[in-house]
Structures are given as C-alpha cells and as structure tokens.
C-alpha cells in the first residue's frame, strides 16, 4: 500500500519534470517585448492622469518625453537574444526526470521508517486499558504493602520498585527500593537497583546519594555487576576515566563464560576507552562461547515468574520488541540478533526467528570459521526450517 502511494508521488514528480516536453509551446516572452510594454503602459498612464486633470500639461509633457527617451534606449539595446524553441535539450529533461525518483528513493531507503505504521491516539484504547490495568495492580500492591503491620514483605517492595522503574516512574521506584534498603534483609541487588533508579531519575547523573547506594551494593557483593557498572559510571563522571575503564575490564576478566551484563560492560568500556585512546575490547575476548544464547536477564525472569500466563507472554513480547527496535538502530550487534532469534523461537514466531538468525549469519560471515557461534546459528536454523 505504502509502496503504491510512494510510487504515485514519484510518478507525479516525474510528470512535473517532463511537463514542458508534452505541452504545447507558447511563444516565448523576451525582455525586448516586455520592457516596451511597461513603458507604453506608463505613457498611457500619464495620458490618463492628464485627461482627468490629475497632473498639469507641462508635467505630462515632461514625463512623456522622458518615457519616450527610455523607449528609444530600450530599442537601441540591440536585437533580441536568440531563443531556441521546440525540441532541443530533451535529453537533459528526461535524465532529470529519472534523477528525481532515484535520488528520493536512495535517500528514503537510508532514512525512512516504512515499517512503523501510523497510530492514532484514538486507536490505542487497548494499550491504554492494559497500562491502566498495570497501574491498578501496582496501586493495589502498594496499598496492600503499606497496610500490612510489618510494613510489607521486602520481595513485594522490590517487585513494586521494578514495576515503577519499568513504567518510567523513577521517583516512586526510588521510594520503594529505599523502603527495603532501610531493612536488615537488604541485599546488594537492593542497593544496585536503588542506585539505578536514582541515576535514571536524575537523567543519568550519579548524585552523591546514588553513589552511597552504589558503594553499599559493592560492599555487600563485590561481584554484583550492576554495582560495579554504576561505580564505573560514577568514576567516569567524576573525571576518573582510567579508573572507570580499569574497573570495567577487571570485572570482565573475572567472567566465566557469557553473561548478559557483559554487553553493557563492553560498550561502556569502549566508549570510555575511546576517549583515553585505549584498545577496544570485544565480547568474544571474554566469552568465546555464547552458551545457549541466553534470553532475558535473571531479574527479568524473576519478575516474569510472578506474573500470570498472559501477562508474562505480554511482558516477554514487550522485551523482545524493545530488543528488536534497538537492533534496528544498531544492526551490527551479533549477540543481540542471536538473542532475538532465540526469543522468537521461544515465542513460537518461526519466521521472525529465522529472519533474526539470518542477520546473525550475515554478521558471522566476516568472522573466523572456528567461531563457536557458527555452529549455534546453523543448528538453530536447521531446527526451525524443518
């Protein structure tokens, strides 16, 4: 449909360019015709003004004399410039007519987003109802937790905080995590999630308050990846980039096989490393085998386990959607495509799974043949295509 409309627009544009080729030619107007016409009109105007007594006879005479003199000058400027009429130069117009759609299509192929359909606010009733439901459930959970005499279970508050965080309501997420953080059963994850919410609430800035939470998270569990990640963020924002980089790389060094947090570490290490002029690190340096192409993070799974079947499918789908969108913008992410393929396989969307794995296959083509991921992709593809 969209192709048809664009085709129509392109065809119309071509029509505009070749219009002079198909229409009848008028006699061209040249400046040697138009200037005297204006001067003659000026003469008439003077005469009319005189007839109506708007100007005196002497004024009229002087003006007429002057205009006539200008007519002579105009006439003396020489013969009209030659204008070739009719057919010459058709070729250039035809090639321009081809250029117009070609240039527009080339641009659009790079910059357009034909895959995103337009979505009127009025047509998004179901989505709003869904969101409303989540809000209601969250409100209910909040009410229940606050009404309980012991202040509500810590697990409940953690779930509430994560839900608020996902809804983008960072301030309330902070509030929920803080409730747990003040208790004795607060874990390293409690503090790292609190730190994450605090940083998000400040649009990515690590405040002193956030850093206190980060430090606490690292003290409780020196191997908590989220804690270390935000510690490095705090260091880099303070101007201690080398320390931030070292911290990230040392954590990557401790890794034993692939873990989902490593991607973010690699990306962050490279973005800091670039400024410092350090060598780029690669995920394959630390995780030679991307074992089982993992899906969502542990926290995601934990959150999903507490949901009903339908909610869970919806939740997974939204995560997969987010991953797919991210990959549209960063299509060079091999492991990302592997994960997407895996996720689609789990959801039973075979065609999309194959598509994602094909993308991975394309990226793999440039890597050495002993990369273990070759086998992984081949195997998954053959299973899907059966």
């Amino acid at each position: 449909m969209i192709i048809a409309w664009m085709g129509l627009l392109a065809a119309i544009s071509v029509g505009f360019v070749i219009w002079p080729l198909v229409r009848k030619n008028n006699k061209p107007l040249v400046i040697e015709d138009t200037t005297p016409a204006v001067l003659v009109d000026q003469l008439d105007e003077v005469q009319r003004d005189l007839d109506r007594n708007l100007i005196s006879k002497t004024e009229a005479n002087a003006a007429q004399l002057e205009i006539k003199r200008r007519m002579l000058t105009a006439a003396r400027r020489g013969a009209p410039g030659r204008i070739a009429d009719g057919g010459t130069g058709r070729g250039l117009l035809w090639s321009s007519a081809l250029f117009v759609p070609a240039a527009a299509i080339a641009y659009y192929a790079l910059m357009g987003s034909p895959e995103i359909s337009s979505l009127a606010y009025a047509d998004r009733q179901a989505e709003r109802a869904e969101r409303q439901k989540i809000v209601e459930i969250t409100d209910k959970l909040y009410a229940r937790l606050t009404s309980e005499p012991d202040g509500g279970a810590s697990e409940g508050w953690m779930l509430l905080g994560q839900t608020y965080y996902r809804m983008g309501d960072f301030d309330r997420a902070v509030e929920a995590f803080e409730t747990v953080a003040e208790r004795a059963d607060a874990t390293s994850a409690t503090y790292s999630m609190l730190a994450e919410a605090l940083v998000s609430a400040e649009q990515g800035i690590v405040t002193p308050k956030a850093e206190t939470a980060i430090d606490r998270a690292v003290v409780l569990d020196p191997s908590n990846p989220a804690g270390i990640f935000y510690k490095s963020l705090a260091l880099s924002q303070r101007g201690e980039e080398p320390a931030a980089h070292d911290l990230l790389v040392s954590q990557l060094d401790t890794a034993d096989g692939f873990a989902p947090w490593m991607e973010a570490f690699v990306a962050q290490a490279n973005s800091i490393g670039e400024k410092l002029g350090r060598d780029r690190v690669s995920l394959t340096d630390y995780a030679p085998v991307v074992a089982d192409a993992p899906g969502p993070t542990e926290e995601d799974v934990a959150a999903a386990e507490e949901m009903s079947g339908q909610d869970r499918a919806e939740f997974i789908r939204s995560m997969v959607g987010r991953l797919a969108t991210r990959l549209q913008n960063a299509p060079d992410d091999l492991d990302g495509w592997l994960r997407l393929g895996n996720a689609y396989t789990v959801l039973g969307e075979t065609d999309q799974a194959i598509e994602a794995l094909k993308m991975a296959e394309k990226l793999l083509a440039s890597l050495s043949s002993d990369d273990p991921r070759h086998k992984l992709v081949d195997q998954a593809l053959s299973e899907l295509q059966e």
Binding site: M1, I2, M6, L9, A10, I12, S13, G15, F16, V17, W19, P20, L21, P28, L29, V30, I31, D33, T34, T35, A37, V38, L39, V40, D41, Q42, D44, E45, R48, D51, R52, L54, E59, A63, R70, A74, G81, I83, A84, G86, G87, T88, G89, L92, L93, S96, F99, V100, A103, A104, Y107, M111, G112, S113, I116, S118, L119, A120, Y121, S318
Partner: protein, 666 residues
C-alpha cells in the same frame, strides 16, 4: 503510513529543487526555451510535494500520532484541536516545514501569475528560488526531520508550551513567515537581475507586488506578535526590543525602504543598484532572523555550541546566500546603467533620504541586537541591550523621517518647487503646532520627546490628508467632482494615503501608551480598592476555575467611575498540569481612548497567601488601540497599492485590453 508519505514527499521535493536550481539557469544562458520553461512545472511540483508533507504532519498532530517524535514533543491528546493544528508549526522542525512551504508557495506564485515576465528572467528567478529551497530542504532532511519516528509510541505527548496556546500566537508565525520568506522571491528577482546584468522599469514593476505582499504579511505578523505580547505576557507592553522582535523588525524596516526605492526604479529608472542591494539585504536579514531564532543562539551563545550541527548548517547557508549574493552584487552592479538624474529637492531625493534613514535605523537595531551576542562570544560577558538604548537611538532617528513623510508626497519628480510646497502645507503645519500646544496644556506638561512626537504624528496625519484632498481637489470643486476624481485616482495613491495615515495613527498609540501610561502594582486582599486614571477598582477575591487542559485562579475586579459601575474584569493565572507551567491571562477593558489592563500573580509570600493577598498589576494605557488600528491601516494601504491595475500590466497580450475612457476605479 501517512508520516512516511510526508517524509518521502519531502525527499522528492528536494530532488525537484535540485533540478530546478540547475536546468532553468542553463536554459537561460544557452537560450533553450524547453529548459527555461521546465522551472514552471517544477516550482508548482515543489509546492505540491511540500504541501503533501505539511498536510501529513498536520494530520499526525490532529490524530495525535505519537509514533512521530515531533508530535510527542509538541502535542498532547488533551490539547484543544486548534492548538493541535497550530502545533504543526510550533516546533523547530515544523516551523521549518512551514518556512519551506511558504518558500515554494512564492515560487509557484511567480510561475502561475508571472505570465507577463520575460522567459529568461523568470527562469533565472525560479532557479535562484530553488537554490534557497534546496538549502532549506536539505537542512531539514539532514538535521531537523519533522518525520522522525519512534516505536513503541509513548503513552501521551509532552504538550505545547501553554504560553503558545493562544489564537494570536497560533497565527503569528504563519504571517511572520509569509513576510520573511516572501522577501525570498524579491531576493531571487534581484539575483536573477544581477545574473542577467539588467534592471529596468519592467523589472521594478514585477518585483513590486511581491514586495508589497511580503511586506503586508510581515507587518501583520509583527503586529499579531506584538498584540499577543500585550495581552498574554501580563506586562501591558507591546514591544520589548527583544532580539526575537528585532530580527523580525529589521527586514520590515529595509523592506519598507525597498518598497519606496522600487518606485523610483520603476518611475525614474534610477536607484537601480540600490534597489537590488536592498532586495538582497532585506532577505539576508530574514535569513539572519531565522538563524538567530532557530540556532538557539538567543538563549545563549553557549547553547548554540552544545548542539552545533543545526546551527553550523544554517550558518553555512547564511554565509553562502548572503556572501554569495553580495559578491555577485559587487561584481555585477557596476555594470548597471545609471538612470535618471534629479535635483537635491525632488521626490527622488526625498525617497533617498527616507531610504538612508531606514537603512541607518536598521543598522542601529542590528547593532543593538547582535552586540550582546558578540560580546558574550568573545568576552563571555552577558549584557542586555534593551529599551533605553533603542529609545535613545532609534526613536530620534525616526522623527525626521516622519517629518519628511509629510512633505514627500507633495514633491514632484526630478525637481520640486519648495516654496510652492510650503504654501500648500503651511496651514497644516500651523494647525499641528496649535493642536500640540493644546495637548500640552491639557496634559499639564509631560516629556518633551512625547510632545515632539505627538506634533509630528499630527503633522503626518494632516499633511497626508491634505495631499489626498489636493489630489481630488476637495472643496476646490463641487463634492461630486471630488468624488469622481477620488474614484479615478490610481489605487496605489489611495494606498499610500492609507498607509501614511496609518503610521500616524499608530504613532498616537505608541506615544500615548508609553508616555502617558499609568501603572500600579499592589498587594490586594478582597475588599481592597485602587484608584487609577479616574477609575475605582474593587478587588473582590480569587476563585479556582477549570479549563479544558488547565485550571486557573480567576480574580474578580469591579470597575467603577464616579460611583457608577463600568465593567467587571476577570484576570486569570492559569496552570497547565501536564506541561507544568503557568500563564497569565490579563483582563482588558478596551476603548478607543485607552485600555484598562489588569493581571494577577501568585501571592508574594506564604504569609500573604494565607491572608488571601494577591499581586495585582493594573495599568491604564491611553490610545493603545490606535496601534492596532494604525497597523490595520498600514496593511490595508499595502493591499490597496497591490491591487493597483498597473501591477498587473506588462505583457503584450494583456495590453490588448483597451483602456476605456471612463476609466473605472483603478
């Protein structure tokens, strides 16, 4: 799908613009008719495609399609429909799209209505116009795409600045842009004339209607903006010498000079290269205005440096178009033939002085506007140049211009008879002085500059009427004859009278509302009474009311004069929860004599809030409505002039219509 169609249409429009910037020019140089004529269809094509894009964006706003980033950032599902539509041009991207739409509108206008323009000049003009649209379309597509998408869409939009949710302001940018961008076609005509190496009466005549159209729109745009500031900002001022205002005022000043110098070029074949230069500079100032407002330069020079991509691109466009056209001017203008000669006392000389004063005034405003930016850039020093500077420099410069405006129309072309003119105007001069003295007595003094300005405004008004009366020989001949003569006058003559008188009327407004303004800012609690300019104003309290997407604190003020109730005013302080910002809705009692203007603001302290006290600003602005009346007369004058029959003449085929001897109203 619709946003993508819009996006694609813009890409096609850019491709068409590229074609149109090359082929017609080649055609004009090689004398190939086919190539020259291609500009006609492509310029209409550009308009059609940009219209499709604009309609696509507008539809996205109307249905609140939040997959379009621009809609997310500038709209909200709860916003009233009118402001959803206005949101289309409320953002940087959308306003650029409007800019380009108007650019192509003027290009297509020349194609459609320019059947009397010589082929080569038309081809060159449209090619130059296409250079500009190539520049701006590529700017938009590469740095400021209004059709950027996002998925999944957010729940709702981020609203439009509630200050901008106002009818005056919804209409202000389109008009301002019609003016700004309208001067592009005049610029294109000028550059085409330079390329052609020829400027004559015919050229001046073709340029005039476009100059007039752009000038009228710019006037309307500036006035709408000023009117908005007057009743929306809550300060009761109508002009703040703010850089955003100044950058629209500068093209207006030079455009006004251009209007007048083009007359000399048409009638007397003189001022040719001057007119060309004015055409180039006027549009250059429009571009500068767009640059200054759109690059973020105004917020701070440093804000510009934070997101330099857009700023640099538009700076590059600016340098290319201004630098290029001025270089072309330096190279080609000396080849223009000198035109008609004139004596120091003549209409030409009068218009020359007019042009010089307007030029210097523009330079002054330019200096006052750019100097703080320059200083901030080099010395990291933030200063603001405001009303005191402009009142001390710009205003005194305008006074001799007004004096001259009264005399100018009496001067004849080539050489004028000064004693004769004096004989005609001396009665007017004496009458003006007497009227000023009477006013002095009635006002019991007042600032000298204000009285001098009043004198000149009266003088301008009366002299303009006198000149018109002389033309129709009012009271010299029977009234029916005068009526007949008035109908026979060219419309351009009526236009001039209307516009000059309009300026005089607007001046009464400027002076009255600045020099004799009375202002009170007081804390009020229910029951407080304030006396201002002969009115007694009772503050009855504040109540909370709800609007469609805001809630408001509405004050109630009972206004009385001499014990008799006059009116009740309801100034509001509105709060927009989604955009988290507040606006002031002032309440105004308007009469021709002056406005009683009231606005309220939050209580100054918590203690005051507890006791129910509010800050009330109340003003009496004498004659302020004369500003709007006079401005309307200026625009009407431009319209009358534009409808003059002469502007539609010029082609041989049109001339075959015989001029009837009875000469209907022209």
């Amino acid at each position: 799908m619709i946003p993508e169609i819009g996006h694609f249409a813009l890409a096609l429009a850019l491709a068409l613009a590229i074609i149109q910037s090359i082929i017609p020019l080649l055609g004009a140089n090689k004398g190939r008719l086919l190539w020259m004529q291609s500009a006609r269809a492509t310029s209409i094509g550009q308009l059609a495609l940009v219209t499709v894009a604009f309609a696509a964006l507008m539809r996205s706003f109307v249905i609140s399609d939040f997959t379009v980033v621009n809609v997310v950032e500038n709209s909200h599902s709860l916003k009233p429909m009118l402001y959803k539509i206005a949101g289309t041009w409320g953002s940087h991207e959308g306003s650029l799209l409007l800019w380009v739409l108007i650019l192509t509108l003027f290009g297509a206008g020349v194609s459609v209505f320019g059947s009397n323009i010589a082929e080569a000049l038309k081809a060159r003009t449209l090619a130059v116009q296409a250079w500009i649209s190539t520049g701006f379309l590529s700017f938009m597509l590469l740095t400021s795409n209004p059709f950027d998408r996002m998925f999944p869409p957010p729940e709702d939009g981020n609203d439009l600045n509630p200050l901008l949710q106002d009818v005056g302001l919804a209409l202000h940018p389109p008009f301002l842009y019609l003016g700004y961008v309208g001067f592009s076609i005049v610029f294109s005509f000028a550059v085409a004339a330079l390329l052609e190496g020829r400027v004559d009466a015919a050229w001046a005549r073709w340029v005039r209607p476009w100059t007039l159209a752009a000038w009228m729109c710019l006037t309307a745009g500036i006035v709408l903006g000023s009117w908005w500031a007057y009743y929306e900002l809550g300060w009761g001022g109508w002009w703040f010498w703010d850089p955003v205002e100044n950058v629209s005022f500068m093209p207006w000043l030079l455009g006004t000079a251009l209007l007048h110098s083009a007359i000399v070029t048409e009638k007397r074949d003189a001022f040719k290269s001057w007119t060309i230069l004015l055409a180039i500079l006027t549009f250059s100032l429009s571009l500068l205005g767009t640059f200054v407002v759109r690059s973020g330069l105004l917020t701070s020079v440093h804000a510009f440096a934070v997101d330099p991509e857009r700023g640099l691109y538009i700076l590059f466009l600016l340098a290319l178009s201004i630098g290029g056209s001025l270089a072309l001017y330096a190279w080609r203008a000396p080849m223009m033939e000198a035109g008609g000669v004139f004596k120091p006392i003549s209409r030409e000389a009068g218009l020359l002085v007019n042009n010089l004063i307007l030029g210097v005034a523009t330079g002054t405003v330019l200096f006052g506007t750019l100097y703080p930016l320059f200083l901030e850039a080099v010395a990291d020093d933030k200063i603001s140049v405001g009303a005191p500077f402009f009142n001390a420099t710009f205003v005194p410069m305008m006074l001799p211009l007004v004096l001259l405006m009264g005399v100018g129309p009496f001067l004849s072309w080539k050489r004028a008879d000064l004693p004769g003119v004096w004989q005609r105007v001396r009665f007017v001069a004496i009458l003006s002085i007497v009227a000023t003295l009477v006013n002095w007595y009635l006002q019991e003094g007042g600032p000298l500059l204000a009285h001098l300005s009043i004198l000149l405004a009266i003088w301008l008004f009366l002299a303009t009427l006198r000149e018109w009366a002389m033309r129709i020989r009012l009271f010299d001949v029977p009234l029916s004859d005068s009526w007949h003569r008035a109908r026979n006058l060219p419309r351009a003559a009526h236009g001039m009278t209307m516009a000059h008188a309009g300026l005089a009327v607007a001046m009464f407004g400027f002076i009255g509302s600045s020099a004799w303004k009375v202002e009170e800012v007081v804390f009020v609690a229910p029951g407080t009474t304030i006396e201002i300019a002969g009115f007694e104003v009772d503050f009855d309290g504040v109540e909370r009311v709800r609007g469609p997407n805001y809630f408001a604190d509405r004050g109630t003020l009972s206004v009385m004069k001499g014990g008799n109730p006059v009116t009740t005013l309801y100034p509001e302080r509105r709060y927009y929860p989604i955009a988290e910002s507040s606006t002031t809705e002032s309440a105004i009692r308007s009469t021709l004599a002056g406005d009683l203007y009231a606005s309220i603001a939050e209580p100054a302290s918590e203690d005051a809030e507890l006791s129910g006290a509010w800050t009330l600003r109340i003003l009496y602005e004498p004659l302020v409505n004369f500003i709007w009346l006079g401005s309307a007369m200026l625009i009407l004058g431009g319209g009358l002039s534009m409808s003059d029959r002469r502007l539609r003449i010029g082609a041989p085929k049109r001339k075959s219509v015989p001029a009837t001897t009875t000469a209907p109203a022209e």
